[in-house]
């Protein structure tokens, strides 16, 4: 197996200490960038590497950086450490175990877009990680990696942590900016996009923790090296957060293009009790359900942004939830809809009302009080929401509902039958 690029602490013990990080080439990429490279050169390297945003949307990182508006100042960079998608737990491991590589990547990003201040927006639950990062930032300041007039030049940089307080929507970039400005986390109307009008109305670049953590290695080893890993569509490595009914859940850093089968069976140790895979959610609770039923063709599908789309789903942030044949989809959809109902910010009526009604109907189905036509009604509500909300949350909330009903109709038929049919194991879990 190849060495890790992002989760390097798996090979290098104590990589979270300054000394060990420096011994392993740490901060060289940032120092080299500030002392020997122009912003445009860095952006070119990142562009040529093929790096795409790891938060879920997969937008080309270098391209995003090149959008920064140089007519308006100051510039800001915000690292998205809000990690709240059910099934995602990768940024936590990066920040806990390889914090300097993340902070170095963030620092490079700040330099590349001319920002002198960078914020790290962490979900409020990451209280301990925030204080850990505060320590690491203080150590970098002591080492002269952060602060004023760095490396004898003119560039100055300060990094600050900022804790959210429990709101999934703040992972959406414009809601995150609102929250960072001390307001309720509700998405903004776009355009304008953050690279022109972002934090405090100023040009702002926002990237996910994992995205930034790739950058130091790309600058050190070159764009061609990074591009040689993964697939033509999706360059490099991705951390797949594997959860659900597998024997060994966890984070697995693998090249894009690795198959679902390899992830589940080689790395994840296979399905619990050796049961068949019924469905996969590749992008957490926001996923369309991929119909598997142990179909070899699906299990052998390569995981990159373009190929997963051929299965009628998205790779998103690669939060891969494995669902076995003991789980009934009406139970699952009730869970996901409950989540989105709780997390809807309430700004757009279709999302606020739609998630409420979807939750009410799925609850009714789960409790055995379904009315005739409830499944059609549920599908109808979901489809009416699509394309009508300011941000993706409303859209995401319908994914499991629509794909669940369309791809697993039998589960919903069984759940809405009035007669005492055998109850599936997963549906007993409340």
């Amino acid at each position: 197996m190849m060495e890790h690029i992002v989760l390097r602490h798996r090979e290098i013990p104590d990589l979270n200490t300054v000394d060990v990080y420096k011994k392993n080439g740490g901060f060289e990429a940032f120092k080299n960038a500030v002392t020997k490279m122009t912003a445009a050169q860095i952006i070119d390297v990142v562009k040529n590497s093929g790096l795409r945003g790891r938060g879920g949307a997969g937008f080309p990182t270098g391209t995003k950086w090149s959008f920064i508006d140089n007519k308006s100042w100051p510039h800001y960079v915000v690292a998205n450490a809000d990690e709240s998608e059910p099934g995602t737990f990768k940024d936590r491991e990066i920040m806990e175990s390889n914090p300097f590589q993340f902070l170095e990547g963030l620092a490079i990003g700040c330099y590349a877009v001319g920002a002198n201040v960078g914020y790290i927006y962490l979900r409020g639950e990451f209280w301990e990680i925030a204080s850990l990062l505060d320590q690491k930032i203080a150590e970098m300041e002591k080492e002269g990696i952060l602060g004023d007039k760095l490396f004898g030049g003119e560039y100055s940089l300060r990094l600050y942590t900022h804790l959210g307080a429990g709101a999934y929507i703040c992972g959406e970039e414009s809601a995150m900016l609102e929250s960072l400005e001390g307001k309720r986390g509700q998405p903004r109307v776009r355009p304008p996009f953050p690279p022109s009008v972002g934090l405090y109305g100023k040009p702002t670049i926002i990237n996910n923790v994992e995205t930034f953590t790739n950058v130091p290695m790309i600058l050190s080893k070159g764009a061609d090296w990074y591009k040689s890993i993964g697939t033509a569509d999706s360059a490099g490595v991705k951390i797949f957060s594997l959860s659900g009914r597998v024997r060994k859940p966890g984070n697995y850093e693998l090249p894009f293009g690795t198959t679902f089968r390899e992830l589940i069976y080689t790395h994840g140790g296979g399905v619990q009790d050796s049961r068949p895979v019924k469905a996969i959610m590749a992008a957490g609770a926001s996923s369309s359900l991929i119909l598997v039923n142990n179909d070899d063709k699906v299990l052998d599908t390569k995981m990159d942004y373009a190929t997963v789309r051929t299965l009628g789903a998205d790779l998103g942030s690669a939060s891969v939830i494995i669902i076995d044949d003991t789980v009934s989809m009406d139970w699952l959809v009730n869970k996901t809809v409950h989540f989105f109902r709780h997390e809807s910010c309430g700004k757009c009526t279709p999302c606020r009302e739609g998630t409420y009604w979807m939750s009410t109907i799925t609850e009714r189905i789960r409790e055995g009080h379904a009315k005739p036509g409830d499944v059609d009604l549920l599908l109808n509500v979901a489809k009416q929401m699509q394309g009508k909300c300011l941000c993706a949350l409303g859209e995401f909330s319908t994914m499991a509902v629509v794909s669940g009903i369309e791809r697993f109709p039998e589960d919903f038929r069984r759940a809405t039958q009035p007669s005492p049919l055998p109850v599936m194991e997963g549906s007993k879990v409340r």
């Binding site: 940024d91 409020g124 001390g182 879990v429």
Partner: protein, 168 residues
């Protein structure tokens, strides 16, 4: 005593993170500070925070209502927040929660008679591979407890009660 009088250093340090003309950004960290001792935010505390960042108390109350980690009602000394979202539920979180309720003799959302613990069901905490899991929110901040059993949870509660402080 106002927040600024009680914690002058902390308030100063929080404000220093943001441009002086955008001090409203400090409202969220200030709310955590104001909530530290009592575990919830009184009207007076919200008024205090509002004054520091120069917004109205109503605006502060709107934030407290929006974000789940701020509380405007007194709860237990510790809030035990169990994740029952999909990935955790696929690994037994719902059964864990039910058993915990039975053992504690309270329902989800309720507080134990001695006022020590409030049990809450929450959405994803980014620990899906280590379910069943919960976080405790208390006087010493927020801590994660992963790969938990009911027995170990009861043990933890006892230790917390005895020490008066949380252990890792």
């Amino acid at each position: 005593m106002s927040l600024a009088e009680k914690y002058p250093e902390e308030v100063k340090q929080i404000l220093s993170k943001y441009p002086p003309e955008h001090k409203r950004s400090a409202v969220m960290p200030l709310l955590y500070l104001a909530q530290r001792e009592e575990g919830y935010l009184t009207r007076a505390a919200m008024q205090d925070v509002a004054q520091i960042v120069d917004i109205t108390a109503t605006e502060v109350a709107a934030l407290v209502g929006f974000y789940t980690l701020y509380h405007d009602q007194k709860g237990g000394k510790y809030r035990m927040q169990v994740c029952t979202d999909l990935p955790c539920a696929l690994r037994g979180a719902d059964e864990f929660m039910n058993n915990l309720c039975q053992n504690l003799g309270i329902k989800v959302g309720e507080t134990t008679e001695d006022g020590f613990l409030t049990l809450e069901a929450v959405t994803c905490l980014a620990a899906c591979d280590k379910a069943p899991m919960f976080q405790t929110q208390g006087p010493d901040g927020i801590k994660y407890h992963e790969n938990m059993t009911v027995d170990r949870t009861l043990e933890l509660i006892n230790t917390l009660k005895k020490s008066g402080r949380e252990v890792a």
